[in-house]
Symmetry: C3
Subunit: 149 residues, 3 copies
Amino acid sequence: MTGSPAVQAASTDTGIHAEVQQFYAHQMQLLDRRACEEWAATFTPDGVFAANGLPAPVRGREAIAAAARAAGERLAADGLVHRHWLGMLTVTAAPGGELFARSYALVIQIRLGGTSEIHRSTVCEDRLVRAEDGSLLVLDRRVTRDDLA
Amino acid sequence: MTGSPAVQAASTDTGIHAEVQQFYAHQMQLLDRRACEEWAATFTPDGVFAANGLPAPVRGREAIAAAARAAGERLAADGLVHRHWLGMLTVTAAPGGELFARSYALVIQIRLGGTSEIHRSTVCEDRLVRAEDGSLLVLDRRVTRDDLA
Amino acid sequence: MTGSPAVQAASTDTGIHAEVQQFYAHQMQLLDRRACEEWAATFTPDGVFAANGLPAPVRGREAIAAAARAAGERLAADGLVHRHWLGMLTVTAAPGGELFARSYALVIQIRLGGTSEIHRSTVCEDRLVRAEDGSLLVLDRRVTRDDLA
């Protein structure tokens, strides 16, 4: 690793930034291909998924998997495909070793045999923690739909 | 750091690439939540924001903050929210220690209580420099709307 | 490079992840500005571009450049601009030193003097290899349109 101390320090930060990006790409691919158990396993066992578009927060892996499964079945029945894009990610260190990640999330909706459009524009705020093996997990996710804000 | 010299060299480059990504995410979040002074402070004191959709370049932090404030007020009055997405970023070293960054930028426009759409597709070309503390600043930004090109 | 062993290991992986991101940004900018020879040179000499929206796979740099040239001429004749966005990238090591990259790709279509929309939503699956100088090349690309899936 070469470069001035300032560049080295930035690189350390960007390492975690890139790691969170990679985690999100993996997580969203799981959701979109309806790998619902694997998707739920990217949350902590008692993880929370809350959204201003949902009646109540979803708590725990079992409930998170069930919600994804139900949503996937509705889409399939309607001849729709969803692709979740997360971007414009900022990551900051939070107390207790947590990471606070704020990003924009778009849901692209594709109609089979038809057109593609932006279904939702949202802001996603995550509290991330590390599993024992060092991998990232979502402890708490808050998704805010921009059209309801 | 393991890997062949080629991989190491690439990683050094990608460190700066990731740092610019992170800078843009932070910068766009500031703009979109109408933190206009903080947004302007991501430019150099005499920084320039030029666009083929604007009558004239905007020069200096005060003018850049004022332009963002006026744009934000128009959006709020119209019941609209904007989310700026930058992506497909390339970064190259330029003379004098500057960085030249070229990216695509989309403006997603959300109507409160309504739908979301692509408002603009643009190309963003930045000359970036470092502040005394090593952080990045925009010296000169040129935004080209694809529909006017 | 500071940090725990877990963070260091993740950073090595994220280095390659970031390198592929950077490669894609460069590659898509070449395509979108119709640098067709340079675009073709990001594939191996006998590289393959296959898509479920194409009648047959395109093989080899000459054919890949010709296809890009023809597509660009059709767009220009129709007063359209395309911007290719790749995102939500996952990269995994594959046998023989190859990388397997899976990403989402959007084609944004801009009408000169008109509006911008999502033209296609696709999944892009690449087998990537290294040239002798260590740079990345596409050996095999499979693009799956979500509306045809």
